[in-house]
């Protein structure tokens, strides 16, 4: 069982998006998380002045599956069809640390005490990194909901926040109710539909072109960023092995040689920590940013998709009305249907426009914030490396 407390972490990673939690009427954060075997339990902390809640400050434990349930119910709510639904947080992936822990357990007998301690340290660092990421992304999800005028009023959202017992039972019921109609639609058809539909509105035409292009580019950038971060981690690992090997040689020796090697091993050990921080900060600020916005862009595309469907429905209703008029029966019904489709389409277009516009602004602000933070961290780590190296060079030269 491992747990972290976000409060103790100096470099608290707030959120990928900004402008959340600005409204004091409903403030949500995840200060803690527990990892129990396969399950991660998040502690959600809520502070609110809204009367719709029973208490003004409280905490509640939730699992990842609860978040998914909440996301799905929102997606399936017709009312929200014209809104960009905040993307669901991905499942916490502890595969890496778990593998390492397994290796650690197996190789315990064959390793020296120092090696074991080092590997354990590495393992803890990796756990921490995965934790940070997953807490961040779950937190942002909730904050997106709480800061949105419509979502924050959602009944299920309130249940999620307040219900003081296990949500598992409620989840099952909900699934039966909705039947997952939206989910069953073939998602890959969305691009075809979106691009196929004739667009009259200039705004949406532009958005369509932009989103489709941007979506593929950001997906690509995310993948490449992941590879780059992976390489950084490998280099840090190598520093670790080099340090260990140097220490082994130094242990056997009794001359000036020993001193030089020990010093160098020490430098590599410290460099490794710095390189690791560089890699994980880059991951958290850059790669996660790209990942998040890949998902958000997908959510925006989903909105376009729903609107395109509504447009298709409207056009179909027109055809039905014409047919009905020709046949001379069910005209009233067809007219009603057509009116409804039009209303729906108009509503989607109107809210869609608002959502997409604020999405732009949100994206730009988030990129700015994260890029600034990443750059500042890179500078900090590089300066630390520099002073470490300068100090060591001086010591070695003076010997």
């Amino acid at each position: 069982m491992t747990s972290i407390s976000e409060d103790s972490d100096k470099e608290k990673v707030r959120s990928v998006s900004v402008d959340l939690n600005n409204d004091a009427s409903l403030v949500i954060d995840i200060p803690d998380a527990l990892c129990e075997r396969d399950k991660v339990k998040f502690t959600i902390h809520i502070k609110t002045t809204l009367s719709s809640f029973q208490k003004s400050e409280f905490s509640v434990p939730r699992q990842h599956e609860d978040f998914i349930w909440l996301h799905d119910t929102i997606v399936e709510t017709e009312e929200y069809a014209g809104l960009i639904i905040p993307p669901a947080p991905p499942k916490p992936d502890f595969e890496g640390p778990r593998e390492k822990m397994h290796k650690l357990g197996e190789g315990e007998s064959s390793m020296t005490k120092e090696e074991y301690a080092k590997m354990k340290q590495e393992l803890e660092a990796e756990y921490l990194a995965v934790f940070k990421k997953t807490v961040q992304v779950h937190e942002v999800f909730l904050q997106r909901l709480s800061s949105h005028p419509m979502f924050r009023k959602d009944r299920n959202f309130q249940i999620f926040l307040e219900y003081d017992q296990d949500l598992t039972v409620r989840r099952k019921n909900a699934k039966e109710m909705f039947g997952g109609f939206f989910k069953n639609m073939v998602k890959s058809a969305d691009e075809v539909l979106i691009s196929g539909v004739k667009e009259v509105d200039e705004f949406f035409e532009q958005e369509k072109i932009f989103l489709l292009d941007y979506s593929s580019k950001i997906k690509d950038a995310t993948a490449k960023a992941e590879k780059m971060t992976r390489s950084h981690k490998n280099v840090a690992d190598d520093y670790n092995h080099i340090s260990g090997a140097m220490n082994s040689i130094a242990a056997d020796n009794n001359t000036a040689f020993k001193k030089h090697l020990e010093k160098c091993a020490e430098v590599f050990e410290k460099l490794r920590k710095l390189e690791d921080r560089v890699a994980s900060d880059q991951e958290l600020k850059l790669t996660e940013l790209l990942r998040y916005y890949t998902r958000d862009i997908q959510a925006a595309k989903d909105l376009l998709y729903r609107r395109a469907r509504a447009l298709a429905d409207y056009e179909n209703s027109n055809k039905t009305l014409d047919k009905a008029r020709l046949k001379g029966k069910d005209i009233a019904q067809a007219e009603e249907n057509q009116k409804q489709c039009l209303r729906k389409f108009d509503k989607l277009s109107e809210s869609g426009k608002k959502e997409l516009t604020s999405f732009k602004a949100r994206r730009v602000v988030a990129f700015r914030k994260n890029l600034i933070e990443m750059t500042e961290l890179e500078i900090k780590h590089a300066k630390n490396s520099m002073s470490l190296l300068q100090g060591s060079i001086e010591i070695l030269n003076s010997n």
Binding site: F210, D213, Y214, K217, I218, D220, A221, K224, A225, K227, M228, R230, S231, H232, N234, V235, D237, D238, Y239, H241, I242, G244, A245, M246, S248, I249, D252, N253, T255, A256, F257, H260, L261, K263, C264, V267, L271, K360, R363, V364, F367, R368, L371, I372, T375, E376, E378, I379, A382, K383, S385, M386, L389, Q390, S392, I393, L396, N397, N399
Partner: protein
């Protein structure tokens, strides 16, 4: 086991003045201009102070070791070198962006107070004035004393011939104040097999005395074939540079050894115009095969020899050496892994940079779009930094470790030689014993005619035994000295190269800070 001394290229001197200074050149009359530039570099190094900023960006490439190489590309008076050579260089310099490999070996030949080699490497844009002045002080201090110097550099790799018969020829330049050399400055051209031939000769003469013979660089069929075939790409340029640096270190170690330096074969190697082709070095030649067989039988012998030592020193030292060889191999493997991973990082960074550039071009917000393009540029610069760092990883650290793994092998050989000498003594002693027994038998059997023969035999073997005893004493003493010398050299070498490597890392981090600090205002400008 070698020293190194990094310098910045001195300003271009006036060609006429240099030529006038020249007196007789015994060797290579047609290489006069080459030596002239040799003169430049050497005098430049000795007298001119190292100016901090005298390593411009063009000097990035091989600013250190590159003294020769840079000369070729920039020296106005350089008219001699063929276009081919220049091209090879430019190719080499362009492909192998930077770094700080050693340029010269500097050896104090005499004096018990011989100080350690200078270990300066002034990275391109970083300056620590304190380090620089210290170097200058050291230089002055050494020059004031009555010390003799010998500097060797291996440069100017040039491809001779075409196709499968082609080979690389290297320039071996020597500068010295040692009285035993008639000239103070001279150079010759040698090919790889010449170096191997030198090793064979030295080995044959000195290994039985218990000396640690520096091993030459390894052969590489793959590497050389690529060069022969004419593949002028970065990997073959890298191979040539790797070999050039290895040959230089090899020679520096050879001349650092006081008794090897006195060897006439070594002198001939450095001085003589044309060396007879060393054919014994080919793997599949008669001698080559013989060598392999000998090595195999040696290995068997090693297992069966068991000496009884009066002094535990040899046994424990040999154990130490064997352990260290193992551990160094492990370290070398770790550094190798680092080199490969950093190469991967280069590639991935470059790919990422392009991807970010694409993203930036699609971005509608103009400030963000600009920032993303800037980010792409920063990542591009980082890729180059990583590339340079990879070279440092390899040429400073990995090659040092590879050298020492082989050197430890040579130390082991040295111990084995001592054992062989001991074994010879043992055999002689047992033969003597047999002869004595034979004599006793003859006396008892009363055969006076054979007695004289037996007595002669005994005398012969008695003198052999005492000769071998002396030999063994001498070898024991030599091996001890050699090991102590080796350990001193090793400490010195490692310190030098470790510092150099850390300096390269420092340089990289310094650049990193600069790139990110330049980028920060761009990001902040996003509205």
């Amino acid at each position: 086991m070698s020293g190194s001394f990094g310098r910045n290229p001195p300003p271009l001197p006036d060609s006429e003045d240099q030529e006038a200074e020249f007196d007789t050149r015994v060797l290579d009359s047609d290489e006069e201009e080459e030596d002239e530039e040799g003169e430049d570099i050497f005098t430049g190094a000795r007298s001119k102070p190292i100016t901090p900023t005298s390593a411009p960006d063009e000097g990035d490439i091989f600013s250190e070791e590159g003294s020769y190489i840079r000369r070729d590309v920039h020296h106005a008076t350089n008219g001699l070198h063929s276009d081919e050579e220049l091209d090879l260089f430019t190719e080499a310099t362009v492909e192998l962006t930077l770094t700080s490999t050693t340029s010269q070996g500097r050896r104090e030949i005499t004096g018990p107070t011989a100080s350690a080699c200078n270990t300066t490497h002034v990275p391109n844009s970083i300056l620590k004035p304190s380090v620089v002045t210290k170097t200058m002080e050291e230089l002055e201090e050494e020059e004031s004393g009555d010390k003799f110097e010998l500097n060797i550099a291996v440069t100017n790799p040039e491809k001779i011939g075409d196709g499968m018969n082609a080979y690389m020829s290297y320039k071996v330049s020597t500068r010295t104040t040692l009285p035993m050399f008639p000239n103070k400055m001279f150079s010759v051209r040698r090919r790889f097999s010449d170096f191997l031939g030198l090793y064979e000769k030295i080995s044959a003469k000195h290994s039985l005395l218990g000396c640690i013979i520096p091993p030459p660089p390894q052969k590489s069929v793959v590497g050389m074939t690529k060069v022969k075939v004419g593949k002028e790409d970065s990997s073959s340029a890298e191979f040539v540079e790797k070999r050039r640096a290895a040959l230089e270190r090899y020679l520096q170690r050879v001349v650092a050894h006081p008794s090897l330096l006195q060897d006439p074969d070594v002198r001939e190697f450095l001085e003589r115009d044309e060396l007879p082709r060393a054919v014994n070095t080919q793997t599949l030649s008669g001698p080559g095969l013989l060598k392999m067989i000998n090595r195999a039988s040696d290995a068997v012998n090693k297992m069966t020899i068991k000496m009884n030592e009066s002094d535990n020193w040899f046994e424990s030292k040999l154990q130490e050496v064997e352990n260290e060889e193992q551990l160094l191999r492990r370290l070398h493997a770790a550094v190798d892994s680092l080199v490969n991973h950093r190469k991967e990082l280069c590639i991935n960074t470059a790919v990422f940079s392009k991807s970010v550039a694409m993203l930036g071009s699609v971005e509608e917000n103009s400030a963000l779009s600009r920032a993303l393009s800037q980010l792409a540029e920063v990542e591009d610069k980082m890729e180059q930094l990583h590339q340079q760092q990879t070279f440092s990883d390899f040429f400073i650290l990995a090659e040092l470790l590879a050298d020492y793994v082989r050197l430890l092998g040579a130390v082991r050989c040295c111990f084995e030689q001592r054992m062989k000498v001991w074994q010879r003594l043992q055999e002689a002693q047992s033969t003597l014993q047999k002869k004595r027994e034979a004599e006793a038998k003859l006396l008892w059997a009363n055969k006076p005619e054979k007695l004289q023969q037996a007595k002669d035999d005994i005398n012969e073997w008695e003198s052999k035994v005492s000769q071998y005893e002396r030999d063994f004493e001498r070898v024991t003493c030599t091996v001890r000295k050699e090991v102590l010398r080796f350990e001193k050299e090793r400490a010195r070498d490692f310190k030098h190269y470790i510092v150099k490597y850390l300096e390269s890392l420092l340089h990289t981090q310094h650049r990193l800070v600069k790139y990110w600090e330049d980028f920060l205002p761009e990001v902040k400008a996003i509205a």
